[in-house]
Symmetry: none
Subunit: 148 residues, 2 copies
DNA sequence: GCATAAGTGGGGAAAAGTGGGGGAAAAGAT
DNA sequence: ATCTTTTCCCCCACTTTTCCCCACTTATGC
């Protein structure tokens, strides 16, 4: 399980050095085989390949006549991209995905359980700021009886 | 299964070079025999020929008295076109389909499970942007309990 | 402070993309 | 029916990009 935030930079070829703390577990878990895709929040999602497969299968099994579903399929499956870590522990972020998430040089990699999120740092900070003004009244009922 | 997006261009003869990553599996799966047709979203659908057959049979089996069904049959079966990859891995996109999807030079080929979608690049970007403003309230119940 | 490991950048080889020309086959016209 | 014209397809060569590997620089720990 991934947690925590790492500040990183893309080199001028668009490569991302995966932090050492994740590298060994990624190599043993999926031989460095990752899947990158687009998230509606305009960041990228980074899955170990085995964790991605069931999600893609679920998406592909849904009816393509529902416009909402179709859009999700296009966003997630359509942007999904297989990438391999090179032997320096780097991955190449494909240009279309870099463009989608507005990644320039400074990015943050954020652990989120089974996956990681990759954000342009400004967008990440903005997103954190925005989340602070949430009203309690908007809390989903799933969280009833739950406290920190 | 196809996934991911590839930026491509049609040459001035209207030919499309199929990306290498798909070429081998297309040759072994369907001997380079593809079916292109029109999609209601104004893109083109690209099926390996064996994957297309059951879809066409299903469409033909539906009642042609329902106007919606009839329209679907006309759009999909009516526009379906057999194409072969040449030995440089290129396919010729028939002019009527090129016109339908507004394909000029810059296009994107998008993996969607058993099929591929071919978009004029501007239209694709527009479609992705539009999908980001989706409301949760519109999510189909199929997705209850599903998360990324 | 030195040694080892990690991060960064660049260069080169191989493969993939691109474009054009020539030939064959088909269609149309006389 | 034959000749002419056009379209389509296949092949070859050139250009571009991508990926992989190596070397240098920086950080960290002993």
């Amino acid at each position: 399980m991934f947690r925590g935030i790492t500040q990183l930079s893309l080199d001028n070829k668009g490569r991302l050095t995966v932090p050492t703390k994740y590298r060994d577990s990624l190599i043993s878990f999926c031989a460095g085989h990752l899947v990158l895709t687009a998230d509606p929040s305009k960041c990228l999602l980074v899955y170990p390949q085995p964790a991605w497969e069931p999600i893609e299968q679920k998406l592909n099994s849904l009816s393509s006549f529902n416009p909402q579903t179709r859009s999700l399929q296009r966003l997630l499956v359509g942007n999904a991209s297989d990438v391999e870590m090179d032997n320096a522990g780097r991955i190449l972020v494909p240009p279309p995905l870099r463009q989608f998430a507005g990644l320039k040089k400074n990015v943050v990699l954020v652990g989120q359980g089974a996956k990681l999120e990759l954000w342009e740092d400004e967008k990440w900070n903005q997103q954190i700021e925005d989340s602070l003004i949430l009203k309690d009244s908007n809390m989903p009922s799933e969280l009833d009886g739950f406290s920190l």
